[in-house]
Amino acid sequence: MSGAPFSAGLAEKVKGLLKRYETKRSAILPILHAIQDECGWVQDHHIDILEKDHGLPRVHVKEVLTFYTWYRKSPPRPFEIQFCDNVTCEIMGAKEAMAKIQTHIDKYEAQMGEKAPFRMIGVPCLCVCDGAPAMLVNKDRHLKVTVDNVDQVLAKYAPLPK
């Protein structure tokens, strides 16, 4: 097993979750949430720890990890953008706002020669269509994000390339 062990707090949390539901298996989703919240993503050695120290078969953990899109299987950037690209958001201008964000990301990486602090993916409906276009930056929800105001929203997180 390589990689850091769970922090004392996380280990306690995992133990608590394993007792919280009717079966240990039901705790897998909440446990992966807890790991991601603390570590940013779910690594192979986390799966080892869950199997060896907590008795969760790796096949069960990997089933959940690979099925659900929320769990990250690679390290996150400081600011992970999830932009809703579904019908209402597209009608209200998501495509144009997303193109602008991507331009900033590409420009940053070309200018600085390193990974941008932002990364963006399109996601299905976030169910805030009355505030379309909608996006998440990490766990912050932003509404009515258009090509006209997207720069102001992003600038709150990190400076944009010139």
């Binding site: 919280r20 539901y21 009717e22 079966t23 240990k24 298996r25 039901s26 705790a27 897998i28 989703l29 909440p30 992966l32 949430h33 069960h60 089933e63 959940v64 099925f67 659900y68 899109t69 929320w70 769990y71 999830q82 690209d85 579904n86 019908v87 209402t88 597209e90 009608i91 209200m92 996601v123 299905p124 409906c125 976030l126 169910c127 805030v128 269509c129 009355d130 379309a132 998440l136 766990k139 929800r141």
Partner: protein, 425 residues
Amino acid sequence: MGDSLTKVKITTAFEGMPDARSLKTYMSKGGYSALKKALAMKPEQIIDEVKQSGLRGRGGAGFPTGMKWSFVPKDDKGAKYLICNNDEGEPGTFKDRYIAEWNPHMLVEGMIISGYAIGATKGYIYTRVEFFDEIRWLETAIREAYDAGFLGDNVAGTGVKFHLDHYTGAGAYICGEETGLLSSLEGKKGQPKLKPPFPAVSGYLGRPTIVNNTETLATVPWIITNGGAAHKAIGTEKSAGTKLFCISGRVRKPGVYELPLGYPFKKFLEEDAGGMLPGYKLKACIPGGLSAPILLPQELETLTLDYEGLAGAGSMLGSGAVMIIDDKQSMVDILRNTVDFFHHESCGQCTPCREGTGWLANIMGGVASGKGRTGDVDKMHSVAKHMGGRTICALSDAAAMPTMSIVKKFEHELTAYIEKAGKHA
């Protein structure tokens, strides 16, 4: 015959109120008095009251709630569960979010009453992970209800046991399907299960389980307080009560509106939602979430918003998500976006859905990027036609229905786009 024009506030009763989410505010307006009334009734009486109310599932399928509850085996003395499907994900829908924002205690109270009615001693609220604030608000409401003695081993001092917990999803539309949700709650990939057996007989961990939508459960306290007959008097004969409608797109006032069922579509769009934004005209409407077949302006003229009205127009009430498509939109984009969504969200276990949504997405991807071919429109229709009624859950049908309706009603626009792109190439 009910009334379809007089507005009644049931699930939006606390909308806009200061400190709306707190137990204190809820109690000050008579909150948890329905629970006390219900606990003095026999469980069968509650089920009868809900049957009489005409309440139908508000998540999309519209199945009669009281009847669903009556399928739970009464002679089974083992564990039973009540699950709130708060995994709102149908594109265009944002009403359950609204309940968490304004009325979380109404949901909690509705769950305790419903749990008592079906003999469940444990409940879960399953919410999509992206509702961060909403989850926090729901967890707070649960904690407050425990502190006030409304949850636990001795609900309101009556000896009735009902525990409630919250469970967070992880990004999968399919978990809004009730058996997919149960798989997820069991800590598995969220794949739907073959029915029968229905969850009422064999659900969470193989035990009798009722899965109800958030809005459905939040309506229950009002029914207990006012009586099934009072609920039945709202709306139409077959569509009783109010419904939360979510309107989005280029309208002046997008948002959540509680309307009596049977309310005229035109009145909703023009008066409540303020009409189209200046410079935009109504081109079409997806009236019940993305799974619902699309309707044209002439089909919307006299449409009423109820189960039978929408079915009569060839669509469905669904989740009450009214997605307005304006005249600046290309139906190529709308259809591409729609099939991409279902392709992304297909869980992959049934071939007609996995492959069908894949083909639809591939064909439309080609069309949208200007590489469409003569015959693509027919091919879309043919693929979609073979996707219905052949799978474990309704996602495949949900992808096929809007596809076929858009292909049929906008064939000219799709064909013209393909031909024009062909000439440029």
